[in-house]
Amino acid sequence: MKQFKGRVIVPGTCRAEALVSRGGFNTLASFQMALMFGDKQVKCGDQNNADLYKKPMLGKALCLPMTIGSTTGGMVLYTACANGKQPACMLFSKPIDSLAASGAILGDVWTEASMPVVDMLGDEFLDYVQTGMTVTIGEDGLVTVE
């Protein structure tokens, strides 16, 4: 077990299974097909992301360095939240980027969805966490990985 302290972007607590993307997470490419065709498990549709492609994202603790891709990214994340198709939480090793921040904040302010977001967890966090591990977020941005 290891603990990491980050910065809270969207407050909240949660406990979920980790799903880890080592490279940048392309929000549009990842969610597009699942949202368009109503995939209940919200499987990742990004062919360029070998870590996540075809893996269910719904309810997972999404661990990533940053998001990349189209400026529709925030809108896509907001739509996922509004439809109840969002990950359990998003945990960034780096400072959050403007597109991910937009989506997470829009989801928090304008929908009923709960998706805590913590950033700046550091490279060591992403080196340590593996897909399938259990992740717990405390109110203060303390993330426990076991």
Partner: protein
């Protein structure tokens, strides 16, 4: 963040719950990036990246209805990204059914929403809103609330305006509130370069390839590019602007660049020179070998890599008028040399409705059509983003289109050779 009394009152609900939520969104957005205050939007017009009535994003239209019902429309008129469908573009019956009956069923309703929210004109759907024919061209130093990566990077770099890489929806919230949080590319410090790129190519590098290489290297940071003056000169004429439009779109889509400086050419580089470069800036040297390496690194995601292309898109971002003229002359010359009268691959040139209107005034549009080329205002990205088109072998000289879809990248010269060859393949 320190708000003015008026902004604080808006946040506290003095002008209604919906506006309070808009301001709360902007405050949280600014807090995430350490913004200390809001600054007024000083640009005349906004630009939104959401131009499509896609059934799957119904929550976005519901949110916009909330804004409209609360009487909250954009404080400034705005332009929008290109429309996702155009009957002029070749498509099968099945594709038509998918586009019209499954995907873009909300197009009319959404365009009606945009009218209420403040779109400038019915025809102002283009990613190149800053071209003279469209007229949404910000002035140097103006603060914007735009989204669309290629337009934001152009406005920041070529026009010297100030805008962050905003997401769709957030850009409209800024326009509704009339202010945006001050951070990143809105600040002098955020506009300094943390990379120096030295271009040492033997010939003028392809804009979309050079932009791709730089984007992939610097990601979201600001590059200061040296060595382009011998090809681009020191004046922002039509040719240089067209080059920078395509270059910037590639830096923004292959990486996440929101601003670049070109030595001796772009406004801030002209005024401040190397003072724009941070003391700890890294250096990236690009020569012909490096560009070739980058090009060869692109994955080919076609099922059959040797398939003959069935469609070619030129114009992502949308073509400028001078680019359409250059392409027209080049295609004409090449067809004549090959004793052909029409292109061998169905080819679509995309441009804004305003640029197409200009092309229709003279002989340009008619000449292009006589070569079998379709002229369209469509967004090629939107056209490609569905399971049917994804399977088609489509070629393009756009690195943005390559990045987001299954389209295969070739240089402009290669595309010209392919579409004017008798075989219709490389």
């Amino acid at each position: 963040m320190k708000l003015t009394p008026e902004q604080q009152a808006m946040l506290d609900g003095a002008q209604g719950e919906t506006l309070a939520k808009v301001v709360k969104t902007l405050v949280m957005y600014g807090d995430a990036f350490g913004a200390e205050r809001m600054v007024p939007i000083t640009g005349k017009c906004g630009h939104t990246v959401i131009s499509f009535g896609l059934k799957a994003i119904q929550p976005v239209y519901d949110l916009y209805d909330q804004l409209i019902d609360a009487g909250l429309v954009s404080g400034q008129k705005f332009t929008a990204d290109p429309r996702p469908i155009d009957p002029a573009v070749p498509s099968s019956l099945l594709e038509d059914i998918v586009f019209k009956k499954i995907m873009y069923t909300h197009q009319k309703k959404y365009e009606a929403q945009l009218k209420k929210l403040g779109i400038t004109k019915d025809e102002d759907y283009t990613c190149t809103c800053y071209l003279d024919q469209v007229g949404n061209k910000p002035q140097e130093g103006e603060v914007l609330s735009w989204a669309e990566s290629s337009a934001v990077v152009y406005a920041n770099s070529v026009l010297g305006a100030r805008c962050n890489r905003n997401s769709g929806i957030i850009e409209l919230m800024g326009s509704v509130a009339g202010f945006v949080p001050e951070f990143g590319l809105l600040t002098d410090e955020g506009r300094r370069a943390s990379w120096v790129v030295e271009v040492r190519c033997a010939q003028k590098p392809e804009a979309q390839l050079l932009g791709s290489a730089i984007g992939m290297k610097v990601m979201e940071e600001v590059p200061y590019v040296k060595g382009l003056d011998k090809w681009l000169g020191t004046e922002l004429n039509d040719e240089a602007c067209a080059y920078l439009k395509d270059f910037g779109a590639a830096t923004a889509s292959n990486g996440a660049v929101g601003l670049y400086h070109i030595e001796g050419l772009t406004p801030e580089a002209k005024k401040q020179g190397e003072a724009l470069i941070r003391e700890d800036a890294q250096v990236y040297v690009i020569d012909d070998e490096e560009l070739q390496r980058v090009k060869e690194s692109y994955p080919v995601v076609w099922k059959d890599p040797d398939a003959a292309p069935v469609l070619c898109f030129v114009g992502c971002p949308h073509l400028s008028l001078c680019q359409m003229e250059d392409w027209c002359s080049a295609v004409e010359e090449k067809l004549r040399a090959n004793s052909m009268s029409r292109v061998s691959v169905p080819t679509v040139f995309t441009a804004s409705p305003a640029v197409i209107r200009e092309a229709e005034k003279g002989t340009l549009a008619a000449r292009l059509r006589s070569f079998g080329i379709v002229i369209s205002y469509i967004c090629p990205l939107m056209y490609m983003n569905n399971p049917l088109c994804k399977k088609k072998p489509v070629i393009t000289c756009s690195n943005k289109l390559r990045t987001y879809t299954s389209a295969r990248f070739y240089t402009e010269g290669e595309i010209l050779d392919i579409i004017t060859s008798k075989e219709g393949k490389p």
